[in-house]
Point group: C2
Chain length 694, copies 2
């Protein structure tokens, strides 16, 4: 099978199997679009019943086409698709876009048809986009391929889009078009029976003219591939990612329209782990993409503000600061220059208010100064077009400074674009990203700053622990798997922790009250006793837990009582040192199918229950990431010295996070693992309750 | 002085004092704008040096104008303004827009000029807009007054805007224009030396053709007036309000450009107390205003969703649910109808997916069903224009149903508007609020639902407490004021609380160790002892606090030690019962100049320090509002029975909030009051530390 997508994105000839003379049919619209977009290659309508479609000679079968065809659309009803794929194979077609719907998403019959055409495609090494999809668009002027039934004819640009939902893809494409900016490539791959979104991302990553990649997904067939390719590509260029279904109702709707698992909360975690920029709305995403497409990435978070109006600069600062930017003061050198060049009423600071009457001379000086200031990484401009200023000459200075691409510039351009056509065109042609609102411009700049942090980030290293004992864990899990045991006993759980050097309160197993007493005496009072049996899942509910037991006599009483009450054949007694309360932490791991585990960290009790103050990361958790997790909860200050209380041993907690990550990575059979609570003290940390589910 | 603003907003004749023949001058632009907007009255340029401006006869002085003039612009330099105001007075002018800048904002000389023209205006009963302002616009077709130097010529509509910042006002005005919707009136009043924003809001409130009011303010000269008029008007129509300067940097910038107090966090509190809808960005605000301008207010939060594409409906649901809307299931009756009318592939639920191929028949049925469903209050529509559907006929059905105005409708309209001109025009003419993104449409609808809650809300009543003793408080405060005392002693603070029946831990005052011992014995051990002296502000710092004292002997020791160490002449000993820890609460009051007090409520300790989990309300706090405050903190569940711990006496806490509100309202001399902490138990509540600053 060929692994590159060139035939799909750069077809030398396109056939439309199911071309139609009916104006409102997909088999006609695609040909119309190819013609309208001035596709550079030959178009071959395939239809046994007509001689031509839209003035182009039609063929009865793809096998009749006299020349080579590397890309074919198939728009005929599902039952006929496999045979046409076979014919495409015979013809030597390299890629097929199946626009037709009615396969896997319609149940078993559809699934059978899908399997059939996939097998045939595989035989011939054909790659399939779809079925149930829109297709692709490539604006490369050498190609001009509009192999799609959508309606937005974008000009060439630097943004490439891949959307699982054609509806959302079309909205994003149209938004860029309405903004007056171009795109490079577009694809929506529908059912994704073969060509996957990660593959497309890789293709965009390798395309020199794609500067920013936009991704919309609601579910992932192969999250690991998505994560890995995402990491690879974000090192080179930004990926702006969005998902939907974050609310329960939204997730339901998603499941119903794409017919699968969706709205999984972990998609955002995957975006973050991969270094993608997550967005929660299309508007912000499109505005950021527009900026990435034309501006260099800033080297830091310090912004210089130039404004010729007051209020909008207050709004801008609010948004910039909220987005993590700093507004440093100007240097003395800059102030000396500006005192010469600015009007008297100007405010020579950062923000630099050049005042409404400022013309080209004032703006030029402001631009020059901001570009020269070493403590400034990017420039934000509020530009209103006063009727008493020659705005075109201001715009020309703007274009000039932007051309040098020394630092990124964004602009809140406040005007009636229909009246200030000249000024607008100068800004547009210079590729200056301008926006109607201060907030919008500020947020777009903040997204660039976020990407700069990501691309420069040292993600740390995955520690390999040499002191662990995999055999012990292997044996326990093997035994449990063989017996189809889902919830591990306390003995097993704590043995696994011990094998991975994850500290827990001292413990032991007793078979009877005598053993329990001597064990308790060895551990030291007070102790906790738990009934330990495969059959008992909820120990507290059946009276299988007793805490804070202070004497040998009480140990004996507790054990006898449990024994009489529970009577399970495999009943043993888990005896553990009862620890004084420390800072209560939670660490858990949850398996994410096809991906690894999602590790959660937080403080216990009200912190998690009331404030949901927890953070997540996907395995493998590196040393840097583990430390970041500790620092990222809102309650992070409570882990340090706080109100006279000593801080906890954070290095140890970070190590536990990494060891848990190693454990669940080594043993993917572990479905859920909870250490809840962990008690953390100034000098030590230990789990006091733990659970593992397979 | 005339109290209505008719001469300003509905001028019968406009003079421009300082009219100019220079194209790029304000005195020319205003005349150009009046002509362009087809102002219905006569225009009188005033300029001693020219015979005409833009073809209109000019007069040497306003006194030479042969007819009546009710509105004049003044655009001449500051020193000449007072005399021209005088002339306007002689002429019988009723309102003046002073566009000229350079008054109060430039220091004392400017202030003197401003006082001068204000005195003259007052003498003649003239109302002044400005100085340093843009002016007004009124699109009433009977008037067409464009008394402004801005550049956006909006068509008549139902939104009226008042903006303290002309820059922000212009942006908002242009945004509506770009959206293709009209406005009713516009004003930016600059320095606001006379006509205030609240007056303008009242004027808009009384205007029948204003359906929604948009307000942008950064500071308020008279917050009380703003609050009261706001309350009055929001009962009739929605006020969409925004401020800026929420970040420290933003507030600084605001102070520097408007030259006063700004970015005060309490502006948002005022918006809420007044029943205004606060917005944090201009985009959301404009989109909501657009919807209010054309749609009826929904009667509840239950939305019906119609969609012809999958992905955007997931995004919409996320945003709708986040915005507080519910998506109820369809009735069986509705489903029966839809099974008849929809295509087979349609999804008959809420969201109702009519599928991409749906035409007018399917959409009509969908609309009809949603309008008839009693459990649905509003309708959200995702409408993409598939190239294979007759979209104009769909739009006609849309227009028809919208005309009935039975329930509000918003639409996420996904198309290339340049190509689907016919469809777009039908929707536009029908006044259907459509948006480019699902999120945007959903947020606009959510804003309407929020207003419905506000207009129907019972804000409760302000309790009058008969059991209080104002005289005691009066005496204490009088004495303190006379002695310029800022921090009250413990004795005074607790006497004030007692006078207002605000419960505190039992206490008394001792002059020496003997008295302290017998007091402690009376209160019961353990006790707290605090050094009480006007001179000691930070008691703990000087060793003036001792807690948990368990015996008479220890009381004596503590008092002697403090006495020897502190030696203040007025030194007394505040002895208080040491309470066992209860749920720790904080209530505080902070004076807001010209407005009343801002009351804060929260839980103490980490809740306020780490999570900033506090809520605010402005005095007077009603019974309903007090209860709401308790329920609004994130930690609210902890006030009820929680994890086996009994809930606290919430009614008592609510009463304390109201009593504190009454106290600070009765005695505005109180600048700050803190009860921190209050210990709340199952059956009682008492302050254990309190502070009052004058």
């Amino acid at each position: 099978m060929n692994n590159n997508l060139n035939a799909l994105f750069e077809p030398k000839a396109v056939a439309i199997v199911g071309a139609s003379v009916k104006e409102l049919s997909i088999g006609n619209v695609i040909i119309k679009n190819l013609l309208h977009y001035k596709y550079k290659g030959p178009i071959y309508p395939i239809n046994p019943k007509v001689d031509e479609v839209r003035g182009i000679k039609a063929y009865k079968s793809i096998l009749d086409v006299p020349c080579e065809v590397d890309l074919a659309h198939i728009v005929i009803p599902p039952p006929f698709v496999p045979m046409e794929v076979e014919n495409c194979g015979k013809k030597g077609v390299k890629a097929i876009i199946i626009n037709t719907a009615g396969f896997k998403e319609m149940g078993n019959d559809g699934k059978a048809l899908e399997d059939d055409f996939l097998a045939r495609a595989k035989k011939y090494g054909i790659r399939i986009l779809g079925p149930n999809c829109q297709g692709i668009i490539n604006s490369d002027p050498e190609i001009n391929a509009y192999c799609n039934f959508t309606f937005t004819f974008f000009k060439p640009g630097y943004i490439s889009v891949v959307a699982q939902s054609g509806g959302v893809g079309a909205v994003i494409m149209q938004a860029f078009h309405d903004m007056g900016i171009g795109m490079r490539m577009y694809v929506s791959n529908g059912n994704a029976s073969d060509i996957s979104i990660p593959e497309i991302i890789r293709h965009y990553g390798e395309d020199e003219n794609t500067r920013a990649i936009v991704v919309y997904v609601e579910s992932l067939d192969n999250p690991k591939e998505f994560l890995e390719i995402g990491k690879e590509v974000t090192a080179k260029k930004p990926i702006l990612a969005m998902t939907a279904g974050r609310t329960e109702k939204g997730a339901q709707a998603s499941r119903s329209h794409i017919g699968g698992l969706a709205g999984d909360i972990s998609l955002e975690h995957i975006f973050r782990k991969a270094g993608m920029l997550p967005f929660s709305n299309q508007d912000d995403l499109c505005n950021a993409a527009k900026t990435f497409a034309s501006q260099p990435i800033p080297n830091g978070n310090r912004v210089g503000i130039i404004t010729n109006t007051g209020g909008p600069s207050v709004i801008a600062i609010d948004e910039l600061v909220t987005g993590g930017l700093e507004v440093p003061p100007l240097s003395d050198k800059a102030k000396i220059i500006l005192k010469e060049t600015m009007f008297e009423s100007a405010s020579i600071n950062n923000p630099l208010d050049v005042v409404a009457t400022a013309g080209a001379i004032q703006f030029k000086s402001a631009f020059d100064v901001m570009m020269d200031e070493v403590q400034i990484d990017s420039v934000y401009v509020n530009f209103v077009t006063p009727p008493f200023v020659d705005c075109e000459s201001v715009a020309r200075e703007f274009a000039m400074i932007s051309k040098a691409k020394k630092k990124p510039i964004v602009c809140n351009y406040m005007t009636d674009k229909e009246k200030w056509v000249g000024t607008t065109n100068i800004l547009k042609e210079a590729g200056i990203p301008y926006f109607d609102f201060a907030e919008t411009a500020a947020k777009a700049l903040a997204a660039m700053v976020r990407y700069n942090v990501i691309r420069n980030k040292d993600t740390g290293k995955v520690n390999v622990f040499e002191d662990i004992n995999k055999d012990i864990v292997n044996n326990i899990l093997d035994k449990a798997t063989r017996r189809k045991q889902e919830v591990l006993t306390g003995e097993d759980v704590y043995s696994i922790l011990e094998a991975y050097k994850i500290p827990a309160a001292n413990w032991g197993i007793a078979n009877n009250s005598n053993e329990a007493v001597s064990l308790a005496e060895k551990l030291g009072f007070p102790v906790v006793i738990k009934a330990d049996s495969e059959e008992i899942i909820h120990k507290s509910d059946v009276g299988g837990v007793a805490v804070n037991i202070k004497s040998s006599e009480d140990v004996r009483k507790v054990v006898e009582t449990m024994k009489n009450k529970l009577r399970n054949v495999d009943l043993k007694f888990f005896v553990q040192k009862f620890m004084p309360p420390g800072r209560e932490l939670i660490i858990s791991a949850k398996k994410e199918e096809g991906l690894g585990h999602l590790i959660m960290f937080g403080m216990g009790g009200i912190f998690v229950e009331v404030y949901k103050d927890v953070v997540f990361n996907l395995t493998p958790v590196t040393d840097t990431e583990a430390t970041e997790m500790l620092d990222s909860i809102k309650a992070a200050p409570l882990l340090n010295d706080f109100r006279g209380k000593k801080g906890i041993d954070k290095a140890k907690v970070s190590e536990i996070l990494q060891r848990i990550s190693a454990l669940v990575t080594d043993f993917p059979a572990i479905k859920e693992l909870d250490l809840n609570p962990i008690f953390a003290y100034e000098d030590k940390v230990c789990a006091v309750d733990a659970r593992i589910i397979l």
